[in-house]
């Protein structure tokens, strides 16, 4: 199922990428859109609260006033408030499913998932209390079903549902509690969202401007064309029936209404427990976290800058060598993506020493082993022009890609490949061209694998690709799990282009004695 979903997302992203510029693709901005909707909800909420009457018997009239008499301002704000809340649920759910499908909640990344679950619950509580405040027929329904459900737990003394027996039973204090919850719960959710992002670096919490404008304009149009309305005043003398439920917030209410309390309670608790245990279902064999080798570390902090998970901190140097700092890996945060090794200037395949050991490396997928695999793969290349493909493990399936002209080498993430390997492959004449492939554009499992790779190859970010490497012999193909055919087509095209270029230009042998590659080589 995960596989299928992953393909579905990749396909949808691909379709959207045909009309949206890459950065604006809504599916690549789900978390950021969640925040954007949140702010719209807050601002419109403050506005409607000005006109909202907090008495239970007056609330309905005040909301009607906004919708009918002041449709041009408070009415629009009310619609924005409702539809942005719905939009938030949509992007939150898509975001959750996508992070799950892309395995972004596994291993050390459990934290964002487990903090996401209470956020989801709180967003639902906010929406449900929101519908309560309108005190129309739907609000009455929500109040009845919610309180009957809470009563079924048997933890409250007097049945709460009795508060809704008749107009005489209604009380303002309970209504005030709902208003309080409707304001307090989203604020707490915001705090938990902040925690949600603690373990990743540079979270994107603002959508690109173009996308934000598009979303806001569509919300405004929707608010004008189809304003949010109430469904008639609440009447305890009538069973609330034939309601237009908000299926984003209330999809479970029919179940809560119709099924016995013990069933819905146990189902809810089991579901909650399942949600919380998703990161460990099924348990994953984890690679060991990155390890620092101080003897080869010069304290340049590139690993620190490139780690997407806040797993590295730079601390006081401890080995007496004349560098100010050294990296320290927190094993509980490290997801073993290898981006740090790809960033380390001492990950130098040119080193002649048997001991090729960068300052930081994955014990279960070392740079030395990578060089050995490169040599083994190159040895099988017999047909020119030869192409060496580096592909990331999660993003593309490389099985069966290799042949007399094409060699495939897997890396943990495109970002694990130090750019100097490209230079190494070409200047040692191991191949005539290099292709780096991985997850679909913007969907890097390890968040920044693509971004850092592109920046390193374009010589915009350390460690940069040496200037002497001819750009026409290097290609990136962000194929993704669906892109095998595209990858093969691109490789074929690349080989034709290489053939047109002729043989690998002879290059001066690399200065093997130097231990550390300088930025520009």
């Amino acid at each position: 199922m995960k596989r299928g979903l992953r393909k579905l997302f990749a396909a949808a992203e691909e379709v959207l990428s045909r009309v949206f510029p890459p950065a604006w693709n809504p599916l690549l901005n789900l978390g950021a859109l969640g925040f954007f909707f949140y702010w719209i909800v807050v601002i419109s909420g403050i506005y409607v609260y000005i006109f909202f009457d907090t008495g239970i018997l007056q609330a309905y009239r005040s909301v009607e006033y906004m919708t009918v008499d002041q449709w041009y301002a408070a009415g629009i704000m009310r619609s924005l408030h409702r539809y942005a809340s719905d939009g938030m649920v949509v992007v939150m759910m898509l975001h959750m499913v996508r992070e799950w499908a892309l395995d972004r909640c596994r291993g050390a990344r459990w934290f964002s998932w487990v903090t996401g679950v209470p956020v989801m619950v709180m967003i639902y509580v906010s929406g449900i209390t929101g519908y309560w405040l309108v005190w129309d027929r739907l609000a009455f329904y929500v109040a009845l079903v919610t309180s009957e459900w809470l009563d079924a737990a048997g933890i409250f003394g007097e049945p709460i549902a009795r508060n809704f027996l008749s107009v005489e039973h209604l009380n303002d204090r309970f209504f005030t509690l709902m208003i309080f919850l409707h304001i307090a719960v989203p604020l707490v959710a915001l705090i938990v969202l902040w925690v949600h992002l603690q373990r990743i670096t540079r979270p994107r919490i603002h959508p690109p401007r173009g996308l934000a404008v598009g979303v806001l304009v569509s919300l405004l149009v929707l608010a004008l064309v189809h304003p949010a309305t109430s469904q008639g005043p609440a009447d305890p003398g009538r069973v609330p029936a034939d309601l237009g439920l908000d299926w984003f917030y209330l999809p479970l209410y029919p179940f809560y209404e119709k099924l016995p309390g013990p069933v819905t309670w146990s189902a809810s608790l089991v579901l909650l427990f399942l949600f919380l245990s998703v990161p460990w279902l099924p348990p994953m064999r984890r690679r060991r976290p990155a390890r620092v080798d101080l003897a080869n570390c010069n304290g340049c902090a590139r690993c620190f800058a490139d780690c997407p998970y806040n797993a590295i901190t730079m601390v006081m140097r401890s080995d007496g060598r004349p560098f100010a700092r050294e990296p320290r890996v927190d094993p509980s945060l490290c997801v073993a993506c290898g981006l740090c090794a790809g960033a380390c200037p001492t990950a130098m395949p040119f080193r002649r020493r048997a001991e090729l050991s960068p300052g930081i490396d994955l014990p279960d997928a070392t740079i030395r082993a990578l060089r050995e695999r490169v040599h083994a793969a190159a040895a099988r290349l017999v047909e020119r022009p030869r192409v060496m493909v580096f592909g990331c493990e999660p993003g593309v399936d490389l099985t069966g890609l290799g042949g007399p002209a094409v060699a495939a080498v897997t890396v943990t993430c495109a970002g694990q490949l130090p750019p100097v390997f490209v230079d190494y492959v070409l200047s040692r004449d191991l191949a005539d061209g290099v292709v780096i492939t991985g997850c679909a554009p913007g969907s890097c499992l390890h968040r920044f694998g693509q971004a850092w790779t592109e920046a390193r190859l374009a010589r915009r970010r350390d460690p940069r690709l040496r200037r002497r490497v001819p750009d026409e012999r290097v290609r990136t193909v962000w194929a993704g799990p669906l892109g095998r055919a595209r990858l093969e087509a691109e490789i074929a095209a690349f080989r034709r282009a290489l053939a047109a270029l002729g043989e690998t230009p002879p290059v001066a042998p690399a200065p093997v004695s130097r231990a550390v590659e300088t930025a520009d080589g």
Partner: protein
């Protein structure tokens, strides 16, 4: 041209998303209650009589209590269960002994129950017994109720207001026989 198509495509995506949000925010309608029925909601909280009346302590008993707890009389606080019965047109709709709440059985008895019945005129007999007697009801009230389709009649009980109370819909005393 391609550029224009891309903008149109974006517009289409936004329009579809907005239409989806707008539609599912209030559709499809949830048909949760048939149009020809009505609902009785029984929701009452009432404490049954104490199991045992208060009684004076003997001098010996008082002497045996710790000094700070000495008092002239003692009351066992447990309550009797309360029996509630609803009959609609002579047919028993509900009949239960409700146990007292609270860890030591000293709290009031409670019930919250719903009954869906055909709309129309009905004779409703509500009875309650709070002293633990079999086949005797200390409180009872018979009313004729006109239940409109989807009407919701609230049935409560307050001893200090004369017993059963009927809310929301008209309930005329007595039934035509």
């Amino acid at each position: 041209m391609a550029e224009v198509l891309r903008w149109l495509g974006q517009g289409l995506v936004y329009a579809l998303a907005a239409a989806g949000v707008g539609w599912f925010a209030q559709n499809p309608v949830w048909h949760n209650f048939p149009p020809d029925r009505a609902r009785l909601v029984l929701a009452l909280v009432h404490g049954g009589a104490r199991v045992e009346a208060c009684r004076r302590l003997s001098y010996e008993e008082i002497r045996r209590l710790p000094p700070s707890e000495r008092r002239p009389s003692t009351c066992r606080r447990e309550r009797r269960p309360v029996r509630v019965q609803l009959r609609l047109d002579g047919r028993i709709l509900y009949d239960a002994w409700l146990p007292p709440t609270g860890l030591s059985g000293d709290g009031p008895s409670r019930v919250y129950a719903k009954f869906d019945v055909p709309a129309g005129a009905h004779c409703l007999l509500a009875r309650l017994e709070d002293r633990g007697r079999e086949d005797v009801f200390a409180w009872e009230r018979e009313v004729t109720v006109m239940l409109p389709p989807r009407g919701r009649l609230g049935i409560d009980f307050k001893a200090d207001k004369g017993g059963f109370l009927f809310h929301n819909l008209e309930a005329r005393p007595g039934c035509p026989s």
